[in-house]
Every structure is written in C-alpha cells, then in structure tokens.
Symmetry: C2
Subunit: 226 residues, 2 copies
DNA sequence: TCAAAAGTGTTTGGGTTACACCCATGG
DNA sequence: CCATGGGTGTAACCCAAACACTTTTGA
C-alpha cells in the first residue's frame, strides 16, 4: 500500500493580494525550499480524509481550517524519495489572516507568500506550484461568480471593502456600479440596520452575507450543486 | 497505511440516453448489488494513479479507457469492511458503446444502466450512486458548454446526430438553430468536403471535430484551464 | 410529393461592461 | 470644499432562446 499524505493549500487576502501559506522545509527532500504544509494520514486517528486534513492542520498550523475543499489527488512511484509510492490528497482552505497560525510539529516557520510570486513554479518543493495554481484558479472562479465562502471575509463589511477583497483575489480592478448591482440583485448581502462605520469621509453602510436559506422550496436531492 | 483502490465511472450514450457501466457484485460486501468496476492500487505495477486506473480497466473491462478524468478521492475508516481504512480515487471515462467491454478478472457480468435509473441511489453498493451523480453533473456541464471530449462521439457525424447526442446526455431537447449556431460560431466542427450520407431523405453534411490547435499564440503556462 | 436537412432572419431577454452623471456626508 | 460612499440612468455588447419561414434534396 502506498504512502498517503494530505497537503494543505491555505489562502488568505492581505495587503491587497491573494496569499498562500508556505513553510520552509527543514528536512530532505527539497530541504530549504518552500512547500505546502502537509502530513501523513493516520488510519488509527483519522475517520475520514477531511478529518485527516484537520488533524494535520492542528498539528502543523495550530488550528483547524474553515471551508475545506478537496482539490485533487496526486500520486506516483517517483513522487517522494522517502517512499516507493506516494499519494497525496490536496485540500484548499480560505482563512482570514488575523487568525494566527502557529508553527507546530516539524514546522519551523510559516509565511504568507503572494500567489503571483509562485506562479512560475521555480523554487517550490515537489509539484506544489501546480497545486497552488489549481487552488487559485478554483478560488478565482468562485469569486468571479460572486461566491464568497463562509467565514473568509470578515463580517460585517462595507461594499467598498468587499469589492477591494474581490479585486485582491482576482488581481484586477472591477467596475463599482456593476459590482454593487451584482451584490444586490443576487441575494448575497443584507444591510445591517442603522450601523455605519466612522471614517475620514462619508461613512459606509455595513453588510453581512445572506444565509443560504437552506429550506427554500423544492430542492430535494443535492439542492445546489452549483 | 490505508487500503487504496480505484473506481471507474464509465459513461456512454446509447438508445437515446446517458448510461453508466455497472457490474453485479459477486462477493461481499454488497454481494448481489450493482456497483462500479474498480480494483486495488498495486504499487509494484502502477507508476501513477492514472496508470492504476488503466490497469484496472484492462483487468476488469478488457480494454483501456479514453478520456480519463479524476473526479475525487473518498476515504474513511468505515468505508469498506474488508479493511480498517479504505481510500478510493474515482475516475470518469467517456466511451462509445460499440467498443466491446469484456468482463475480466473478478467480474461476472457488465451492463449499461441509464443514469436516471440510478439517481436515487437505492440499490447500489457503497456510495457509488453519489459518485455517479457527480460524474454525470460534470459531464452535463461540459456538454452544455459544447465540449465533446475527444473520442466520445463517433466521427464523422452530422449535426443532427451531434444534437441528438447532446440531447441524450442532457436529457432535454435543444433548439435546432441555436445548437447549429453554437457549433459553427465556436470553432468546434469542420465540414468534410463533398461528403454526405445516404439516407431516406435529404442527406446531411458530415463533420468532424476541429483539432484544438495546440500552438495558437501566447498561451505559455497551462494554456486553456477552461 | 413528402419529410428531413439546412439555412436565413428577427425578436426577445438576461447579464456584464462601461460610462456619465447625480446626491450625501464627515472632516 | 473635497474625497469618498452611494445611487440612477443609459448605451453597448454578447449570447442564448424562441420562432417563423424558405430552400434543398433523395426516395
């Protein structure tokens, strides 16, 4: 049976750009390079693949991860010199940068790196650059469709803040009017009554996301596959 | 390390409907039920996950499969009573029904079942009904976007044939004019010169798919992620 | 002549993008 | 007054759906 691992692609938005959490590898292979945090599946501790990803996150990052999405599985005979056959199941998580991640077991240091700095795939371990690119693509598609996975954007927020967030993820400017119209026509956001924010100029309206309203009508089997 | 398997969701279009290849299980668990063909990963024989899927296809179905697409990986402690922890990597393949599949090792009989007969998930082994639904969703999305994976539709074909194929996959009628316009405006098909088909009434123009033209301009990294 | 293949044309509608404006407000 | 938040309106564009209608062709 192969050597089975879980790799984590953790993304957040800071300083106006989409960033990925990487760790400097201490051990071979690829010692000294940056790589995705990950760990070995433990069949005596994990009841499922997602549970394994959460345990790895607790051990390596000091916390559980919201919004886990399975990206793919990669495996082969020459993937990892530590084992004759290695298989990795890759998960993506979207977090807020304020929530501290603490380096844990076997992890010396963690750092946020802008995703457009790693797109070339130069100095990353294994095929991690490709995995990150895949996670970024999937995430950008979601945001372009005005999907903001729960817990990723700090609530409450103003519409200019939400737009700046989307622009940071997509890496391009968006039209203000179109963005606001799309946010309002789809039942994405709800205005919080009365609340505003004190700022330098005119205060902005505060919003939160509309809950999915999980019992709306006739959706019987697999209500919203997309 | 867990027990690692590959499961195959093989789809084709016959008698006007999308069908999935299922085998009647001879052994426990779920003996007597229908299930997806699959097999155990052999790290001494398979160089990659996709190679493992192809070897399983050769052993169980007597042939290799075109157009393999990895759907997901599922795993857990209580997934399969034959092992304390079981992990399955699921692949989808799109084939033509004429290409004979011959039951092989450990497979008594294979049968095509219309996918809308298994959507409820009643009498299928494990969580195979859910896996089939996921494969069908992904395939319908592709066809709705006028993507016909290479080798799935017998070439050459007429546009009415291609439309009937798409309607069988989607399970609903399509507008003739819209379908033809979409096929022509996108560079999906190429008319074969002179050729027509002898039939009962006016013969139809024969077409084949336009090759992707893989060296068109500046697409450097990951040319067409969609 | 029939029925299917093929083609032309028009209308409608949704959705996005891109503008040009307007007003409101706190410092 | 100024910069930002918030809003209205409009035009252009693309695409898909729907429908009417004509022409072509082999049996």
């Amino acid at each position: 049976m192969p050597f089975v691992r879980t790799e984590l692609v953790v993304l957040c938005v800071t300083v106006g750009a989409l960033q990925v959490l990487l760790s400097r590898r201490e051990e071979e292979p690829h010692a000294g390079l940056l790589g995705l945090p990950g760990g070995v599946l433990r069949i005596d501790q994990d009841v499922s693949l997602e549970a394994a990803a959460q345990r790895v996150a607790r051990e390596r990052l000091g916390r559980e991860l919201p919004n886990l999405l399975q990206l793919c599985a990669v495996g082969g005979a020459d993937r990892d010199p530590r084992a004759p056959w290695a298989l990795s199941v890759v998960y993506r998580s979207l977090v807020q940068p304020e929530l501290a991640v603490k380096p844990g077991k076997r992890v010396k240091s963690l750092e946020w790196v802008a995703v457009d700095k790693v797109s070339d795939g130069g100095d990353l371990a294994f095929d991690h650059a490709r995995l990150i690119a895949q996670a970024v693509d999937a995430t950008r598609e979601q945001v372009a469709a005005m999907e903001f996975p729960h817990g990723w954007v700090p609530e409450p927020f103003t519409l200019p803040q939400l737009q700046a967030f989307a622009e940071a993820v997509l890496g391009r400017a968006l039209d203000k009017v179109t963005f606001r119209r799309r946010a309002n026509t789809s039942d994405l956001v709800v205005a919080l009554e009365g609340q505003t924010r004190g700022g330098a100029f005119r205060p902005a309206q505060l919003y939160r996301f509309q809950k999915p309203s999980h019992a709306s009508g006739g959706g019987l089997l697999r209500p919203g596959a997309r």
